[in-house]
């Protein structure tokens, strides 16, 4: 009970920061908006999707990429708290040991939700439509947020291990970029060559994108049935990934927090 209360206090504090720190605003609102517009107008005409529109195809990919990148907030935020000595302050308080990281992951879900709202509005403006049922759309949004929540715990561990917030951004950049590009986010995975195609098929970012795309009814009509198991069971596969990530990384993050800053 006190864990929930403490986590809420930490989350509330992080929410205040969104209004005060311009970097956060840019990352949460401006950048996702920019991505939707850039891809829609720059690539929108040059990439051909058989039997569909690229803009429709694209949106689910941008959503997936943005929530994955959004998880880095958890890492850089914790690294900053550590650098500034706030983690030591928290550790000297009679509060729950897991609340600081948990509160951070929760507030980052709110950040991500905000990003998704902005992107959805921008998408609607450039011609994207939800073609499926409302329920399917809700499921798609929920999956995006749950996956990003799970991924936040991975980033939390990174943030608690590195010396400065910049390192989180730099280190994760080289991993997250390939992870979100060797996938069906921006091009159909069938168009990728040999090994990359296999990686893309098993990449959870692909299955997340695919599941969301299907629920939004944005899958082009002539798309062949996927042959790889993860894509055939995209929803289940993405959920398994998310649950496993939480089960593995949540205890590690809590442990790292307890030992953090005691140098």
């Amino acid at each position: 009970m006190s864990m929930l209360r403490d986590a809420a206090t930490i989350a509330r504090r992080n929410m205040i920061r969104i209004r005060r720190v311009p970097d956060v605003m840019v990352f949460v609102v401006v950048q996702p908006l920019m991505f939707v517009l850039l891809f829609a107008y720059v690539f929108g005409g040059s990439i051909d999707i058989p039997g569909g529109s690229y803009r429709e195809f694209l949106i689910a990919g941008i959503f997936a990429q943005t929530v994955v990148f959004g998880a880095t907030f958890t890492g850089s935020g914790l690294a900053e708290d550590m650098q500034k000595g706030l983690i030591n302050r928290f550790r000297s308080l009679p509060m729950s040991r897991s609340a600081v990281v948990a509160g951070r992951t929760v507030s980052d879900v709110v950040y991500n939700a905000l990003s998704i709202i902005v992107m959805s509005l921008a998408g609607l403006a450039v011609g994207w439509r939800i073609r499926g049922s409302i329920l399917d759309a809700v499921v798609a949004y929920a999956l995006l947020l749950f996956f990003s929540y799970a991924f936040s715990w991975v980033m939390a561990c990174v943030g608690l291990l590195v010396p400065t917030p910049e390192v989180v951004n730099n280190a994760t950049f080289v991993i997250l970029f390939p992870m979100t590009f060797i996938a069906n986010t921006f091009v159909p995975s069938e168009s990728l060559p040999g090994a990359l195609k296999t990686i893309a098929e098993w990449n959870p970012v692909s299955t997340l994108t695919h599941a969301v795309r299907v629920r939004f009814g944005n899958l082009p009509a002539q798309t062949p049935e996927p042959t790889a198991w993860p894509l055939q069971n995209a929803m289940l596969y993405s959920l398994i990934w998310a649950v496993v990530l939480i089960m593995v990384f949540a205890p590690i993050a809590t442990r790292l927090y307890q030992r953090a800053g005691s140098r």
Partner: protein, 308 residues
């Protein structure tokens, strides 16, 4: 009564702070001051030894200890993007207070510390000294009986330092027990009832500031001359007035000695220097510093990385 028992991680440091008093832990960087505070505030587990804070065992019930202490660190651990009120409210809530109580208490402290102007503005816009005071206020939100202050004024200008001292004195008058670490003899002198001097994790002296100062001598005479030759001759002149071990840097031409009667020693040394026609670059009297305490107690200077 509070007992801080033996902590072997620090090579057998034994501290005992009676309730309502201030213990000053004085030492250079790397002496083990912060380690001692980390252990007593449950941030670090000792390898061996025991410690009781406010009657609670640090190892057996760390959370119980945390509920009874306030910590204000060397680096102001406040959220610079939050206002003072928001910071204090957050800390209060994490001590288990209701939001309303935490807020009311926060405002009370801001009023007391004359920080109302920071109440509704992000701390980013304020000076280091102001942030330190808000940090201290954070440690006081829950009115803990024991307060740990880890180098509270390191890096502050004299005015901010004075303001922070005043705030600390005020708490002690209200019955708070304080463990204070510092590199400044003057700070320990100003605030502490008892001072423990530590070096390499050992206590090397214990006593009131009066007792320590009596050992170190009231004043110090510094003479700066040109070259090693003059420095050597100056050294033998100053030997006559020195009441303890001198510090000499031949190459820099610097000689420093504790003296009993400053003005008298100054005039004797001046006269002799003139007679021997030694040119003086600089000469002056000053109050003893941490370096002087170390010189007196250990016969060597505070380790190289220590002197600021």
């Amino acid at each position: 009564m509070k007992r801080y028992g033996e902590v072997t991680a620090l090579d057998g440091l034994d501290l005992d702070v009676p309730g309502g008093t201030v213990l000053g832990l004085l030492g250079p960087n790397g002496a083990g001051k912060t380690t001692a505070v980390s252990i007593l505030t449950t941030l670090t587990r000792p390898d061996a030894g025991t410690a009781m804070v406010a009657g609670v065992d640090v190892l057996a019930d760390p959370r119980g200890v945390r509920a009874r202490i306030g910590l204000s660190g060397q680096y102001a651990a406040v959220d610079e993007h939050l206002t003072a009120t928001e910071n204090l409210e957050m800390i209060g809530c994490l001590y288990g207070m209701s939001r309303r109580d935490a807020r009311r208490r926060g405002l009370e402290l801001l009023d007391q510390f004359r920080l109302m102007e920071a109440a509704d503005r992000p701390l980013k816009t304020f000076s280091g000294g102001m942030r330190r005071r808000i940090d201290l206020a954070g440690a006081l939100v829950a009115d803990p009986p024991v307060l740990f202050l880890d180098e509270p004024t390191t890096g502050l200008d004299p005015r901010s330092r004075g303001e922070l001292w005043e705030a600390i004195r005020d708490r002690v008058q209200r019955g708070t027990t304080v463990l204070l670490t510092t590199q400044y003899l003057e700070e320990a002198d100003q605030l502490a009832d008892e001072i423990v001097v530590i070096d390499h994790g050992h206590a090397i002296a214990k006593g009131t500031s009066e007792e320590l100062k009596r050992r170190v001598g009231g004043e110090h005479l510094d003479v700066h001359v040109n070259g090693a030759d003059d420095a050597r001759r100056t050294e033998s002149i100053m030997n006559k007035v020195a009441t303890g071990p001198m510090r000499v840097h031949h190459d820099e031409g610097e000689v420093s000695a504790p003296v009993a009667n400053g003005v008298e020693a100054l005039s004797i040394v001046l006269r002799e220097l003139e007679e021997q026609r030694i040119a003086i670059v600089d000469i002056g009297l000053r109050r003893p510093t941490l370096d002087d305490v170390f010189m007196e107690l250990t016969g060597h200077e505070a380790s190289a990385e220590a002197s600021q």
